[in-house]
Subunit: 221 residues, 2 copies
Amino acid sequence: MADTAGVASSRLDRRKARTRAALIRAAQAFMAAGRSDVAILEITQAADVGMGSFYNHFSGKAELFHAAVEDALDRHGALLDELTLDLDDPAETFAQSFRLTGRLHRRHPELSKVLLNRGLALTRSEERGVVPRARRDIQAAVQAGRFTVADTELALTVAAGTTLSLGQLLHDQPDRDDAQATDQITEDLLRLFGVPADQAREICRRPLPEPDDRPRGGTAA
Amino acid sequence: MADTAGVASSRLDRRKARTRAALIRAAQAFMAAGRSDVAILEITQAADVGMGSFYNHFSGKAELFHAAVEDALDRHGALLDELTLDLDDPAETFAQSFRLTGRLHRRHPELSKVLLNRGLALTRSEERGVVPRARRDIQAAVQAGRFTVADTELALTVAAGTTLSLGQLLHDQPDRDDAQATDQITEDLLRLFGVPADQAREICRRPLPEPDDRPRGGTAA
DNA sequence: CGCCAGAGTGACGAAATCGTCAGCGCTACA
DNA sequence: TGTAGCGCTGACGATTTCGTCACTCTGGCG
């Protein structure tokens, strides 16, 4: 939980972390399949873990699912940070993050489904995941004079809701060009945030860093 | 189900409709309380209906909850139509609908909670409820030259996601001025849709019709 | 007035799910 | 190498939930 940096100390700790991660991965898989009402036994079987182990890690199903969503958010947030590390303009950081998140819905549908399932409730009041990053970027862009918005929280609200809704759209219309749709909406958002139209257009045409899909060493890997 | 117009024909039909409505109302109440995992028995007790009656109307819990959301959407959509009936400008119709929906989250938190729970999945591909109305308004506004958007569906996506996210915000921050926040976001959306800034501002300051809160004769009344 | 169709009812057996617990195997450490 | 500690395990009793079914009651109709 608080094991932010560094590898687990002992072999036993690592074993424990692996079991926990397996449970989280299984839960995410079931969420992606839309089956949030699975029996605990079924989860442990999917995770190839003994039934009794479950309660060594979680007090119940709700806690597991919460951890699963948190894990998905953390991993995606970390990925965004990694890919936008070298950008100076906060407006561009925001735009790249939004565009990358749009791509995510096609590239990692399972992760996307997890976010769409419970993402709305986590849109606010969470100190972890992608929301604080977006808030940070918007605030920085306002400070830098790149964005002109009446209320940061309202801007964040528009952005958050639009991300989720866009994910749903891309999921429901598999034939739609996800990059085109995402970039179009990002451009619209930038204009809404006060960026001049030509600049918004140009920013959204810049090339995106290609995320490598190696399994990363996140909480649940 | 298809009993759109006219009262139920016989007394028996009316009785049946009342039982069904009671179940739907109970389900909505539980959803509003965040308890989507209630036992069927508990639902029937809350509805003051015999356990056995449940299966006369629904094949299972999922079907009931689906009907409950659909009912909430239908009733809100009908209310919007009623309140915006005399408007000529489709841009204003959209704006008023959006503003009224924003007010809804505070005025009818229970209905709002229902929409927030499963609204995202119904954001798309539903032929009933508020989404088709929004689509219709946006298309009409584009036709009339009031909106300038590259893609109607993308515009709809932004609007839908923002509504839900705004509802979540208003729910999480009870102290925030809901009218102010809603009108601000509506104004931003209108600008995003190509309405000149001064017009957008003016439209969102126009007075709103006051919805009367009499229980209406909808599907579940 | 009497009969019938259809909705309502709640108790009951079947089935699923829960959470525990006593034992086991592995790992760290002396 | 011995041993103590910790996590893993899966079978089991308890509990909850499900869906049915035989029956009742109400209202439409001849």
